[in-house]
Amino acid sequence: MISHPGLAPERTRKMILTALFSILCIIYVLPVFMVAMNSFKLNTYVKTDTFGWPRGESFAGFSNFVTGMTFGNYPFFKSAMYSFVITVLSSALILICTSMAAWYIARVDSLFCRAIYYLCVFSMVVPFQMVMFTLAKTADTVRLFGFWGPKLNTPWTIPVIYLGFGAGLAVFMFAGFVKSVPLAMEEAAAIDGCGPVRTFFQIVLPVLKPTLISVGILEIMWIWNDYLLPYLVLDRTMYMTMPIHIQYLKGSYGTVDLGATMALIFLSIIPVIVFYLICQKHIIKGVAAGAVKG
């Protein structure tokens, strides 16, 4: 093979880049690795011997995980379950309600609709600190069906709060997408005598699928990791989510068991990484789409 003058340096350049990035990647995952490593160390060694292997006298086996489970008089699986319930219910509720609203807003396009749309855009730029003190009180006062039913401060009803505070971005993204969808199919359905509700669920929703995934991913990432909103809104006599639990342990009195805290942090990262590895493509696409719109 005749050597091409420009190609060989190009190839070495690429190989160097690959090598360089491989090293960078290893550095990049080190923090997570460190958490895993320290979760097997006895309490005092987490601070004094952060970078050493857990071995001999510093090795704790799974005892950190065992103590972590009931640490602070609150079983960890309970906060994990509430985190899961809140994330799933809230994301589902947001997706359904905002996609419906966005379709209506985009298609009807009345003054009322425009007002709602701009309110949604406005809500996107309002920081949480602006509403947090009053939101906690509101969630403690308002009940699911107005004056009746459970309050909005339980994991089963907090999705309403998430829908209210997080509607902006979702409506914005859905409305943007709906506007770019041609009317032809919906018109055909209407001519065939298909009512709006059926049209929406059978025709519009499937078309919206890519945006549904993007918005869903963004909402899941937000809600799963959210600390302040559930901390202020949830009835703290009964419920914790994982971030709240971890913050509570670190701030507690008596002695902070760092080994157990690391074990819980490790446990809370695992589902995130599994979820990421499974839905990686969608997540990256969703983020790109969300960022470009919002």
Partner: protein
Amino acid sequence: MKHRDSAASLSSTLIRRPIRHWGWLFVGPMLLAFCVGFLYPFFRGIYLSFCRFRTTSDAVFIGLGNYSRALTDPGFVHAFWYTALFAVVSLVIINLLAFAVAYFLTQGIKGSNLFRTVFFMPNLIGGIVLGYIWSMIFDGILSKYNTSILMKTEYGFWGLIILVCWQQVGYMMIIYIAGLQAVPTDMIEAANIDGASRWQTLIRITIPNVMPSITICTFLSLSNGFKLFDQNLALTAGQPYLFAADGSQIRTTEMLALNIYNTFYSQNSVSRGVAQAKAVIFFVLVASLGLIQLFATRRKEVQQ
């Protein structure tokens, strides 16, 4: 234009009218939740910023006093400058790194997909957890030098910068990759044929073509920097403190959002209204950043 009018009128008869009967179903749930979860707390918050109150239900109107207190609080002023500095520094570093990584990962090197996956990963970890992971690492390193991240403002500042870089570089990288992939290849090829160096191609062709991504990432990292809370709370929580001449505390690594939170909860009842006034000021600040961004991206869209 004629064509569009007729399309609109067609859609109005076939689609608009029937949907309108169902408006309560389509918009109702979202609108009700929006009122409970956003509109009411928002306006109530504005009202309370003019009040003195101990709990939000026993408010007494006092006028602008809270605002003048907020603006003369040295802790708040410090938090503002600290936050602004942090936002700008993190903006520059995150975007430089993210762009560099995205640039190299779009050159067709082996393992690009894997690298992209790894770089994005920290983005999925929540702020509280991130803070504790890095506080463990920083203290692990600094304790070798017999100090701690809580001891020096500089440590806290750069520690937080490293943390947000780790978290956000991957996110911005994704946006830059999308932008870079949209740069027309024929333009780059043409430049290569003309004998332009790699550097020249980057400056003259690539960067102008990814300007929209740069705008987005700039505003995104700026507003992320301003709104940072969880990471700040978990990493240093404002330590170390300085004392002003009159003895008032300045929590040197406390950012705006945390300052508002601390003002509301950890002091006496007078400060609740002050905290709400601070929140309104904070809102005006963040909202104007956001609106400038919307305006900037809108104008770009029109131009294209």
